[in-house]
Symmetry: C2
């Protein structure tokens, strides 16, 4: 099955989003979509006079910001995607982690920084049985980047939601987890957009890593990817949203990460 994450850059561009959703709708079930936020929350937050709060460069989710992202991610963005997918005959069901307790979280403990209403999650927090039921009904869950704990919604990283769902569902399926980002894939030479590494098994990664060829920006993504692989996910693919259909096949144009 395919678990696919799209980021803000796609959501912010109506034309890219429309093309992406058409491609997504064409992929065979079972499949899950996880969307990030996009700039629309910042725009609406500005109009509402909600200031973005940062401590040491990290965004803080105070109570006002939590309401904002609950509205914008869980309502506006999520339901617009669902309505568009329904028109494409894809039986999308828009959810947050709170819905049917699909992903319960822990409010991030306050250490040096109080991140506010932010959720930390792990695969054990996924209501895998119910998610599996939804998939068996041929519905297509579309997750907003929100979870819950103790009666509160919690702002939660969409990449992490995608990874955690992939790990939890690897119990039932051979999962390919696809991260759509703004490049074609992982580059061997960061200055050469054509230098996509097509297949990156762990051994090759270790070799390249020792050579220091990976840019700082891609390293956290790669570490996440191998963590998912170690936890049972069959394949992780990092590629561009425009290549989604190709990247669900055998001959991918992105970077396929395996054991």
């Amino acid at each position: 099955m395919f678990i696919i994450k799209i980021g803000g850059n796609v959501l912010d561009d109506q034309q890219m989003l429309t093309a992406f959703l058409k491609d997504f709708a064409s992929i065979k079930e079972p499949k899950i979509l996880i969307h990030g936020g996009g700039k629309i929350a910042t725009k609406i937050g500005n109009q509402l006079g909600i200031e973005s709060n940062y401590i040491k460069g990290r965004r803080i989710t105070d109570a006002e910001t939590l309401d904002l992202v609950t509205m914008v991610y869980g309502g506006l963005v999520n339901k617009q995607i669902v309505a568009a997918l329904q028109k494409l005959s894809c039986n999308a069901i828009g959810v947050t982690g709170a819905d049917a307790n699909l992903i319960s979280a822990v409010k991030r403990p306050v250490k040096e920084i109080d991140y506010g209403f932010v959720g930390d999650i792990r695969p054990a927090g996924v209501n895998t049985a119910l998610l599996h039921e939804l998939l068996k009904q041929n519905t297509v869950p579309v997750f907003a980047p929100l979870t819950h704990a103790d009666g509160n919604m919690l702002n939660t990283n969409a990449d992490t939601i995608a990874s955690v769902l992939a790990v939890a569902l690897s119990k039932y399926f051979d999962v390919r987890l696809i991260f759509c980002f703004e490049k074609k894939g992982v580059l061997k030479n960061v200055n050469d957009a054509g230098s996509v590494i097509n297949h990156l098994p762990k051994k090759l990664y270790d070799e390249y890593f020792a050579q220091g060829i990976f840019a700082d920006g891609i390293l956290p993504k790669l570490e996440n990817a191998y963590a998912a692989i170690d936890a049972g996910v069959k394949e992780v693919l990092i590629g561009e949203s425009i290549d989604l259909v190709k990247n669900t096949g055998q001959e991918t144009s992105g970077t396929l990460i395996t054991k």
Copy 2:
């Protein structure tokens, strides 16, 4: 089973809402909650500079207003209710009609007035089979007053959603449809809050109607109620939110409407 609708007056009062959700959580499954909007949408709309448009006293849902209600009803209000119910060990799943195509609608045809993005629905538009599956999983659907058609979300009357769901599910269940409103029940004398009619079978209604005892405000509710009864719903109850638990039992404090 119980299909319960709460209106804006409960949503706008945090204390009333908390008490209501506690009562709702205590009711045995299967059950469904439908919530209306409340003043929060108007408040946020004002902050965003979205003007309320009325033609001949009827609110018009233009594109901006549609985004507003999708955010506020489908996101903020719906997910706050879901998170609160989850804390009360009620496995709520927040949905709109677009999700899993649970309620498809028709955009209201333009006649004298163009209502904009407003959905008209009927029981045949309910994805009864999937809704039944969700209930079988012991999840508790919580509906925001939104449906969809042709790739758009549509603003939809919450009372109508409740009725249509009740009719559709009467195929599987003995349904009691409960409308929570601001009075104890239907009054025999509109100036006497103690004159609640406890049981109002159709024959008695016809008698009272001929006597002209019903106030104009309650007549549309009563007509809706008997329409639901005629279409297969076993019982409709009109009562106050504070009496919810009592109104799910045999000895109700509201007005029980039957054949």
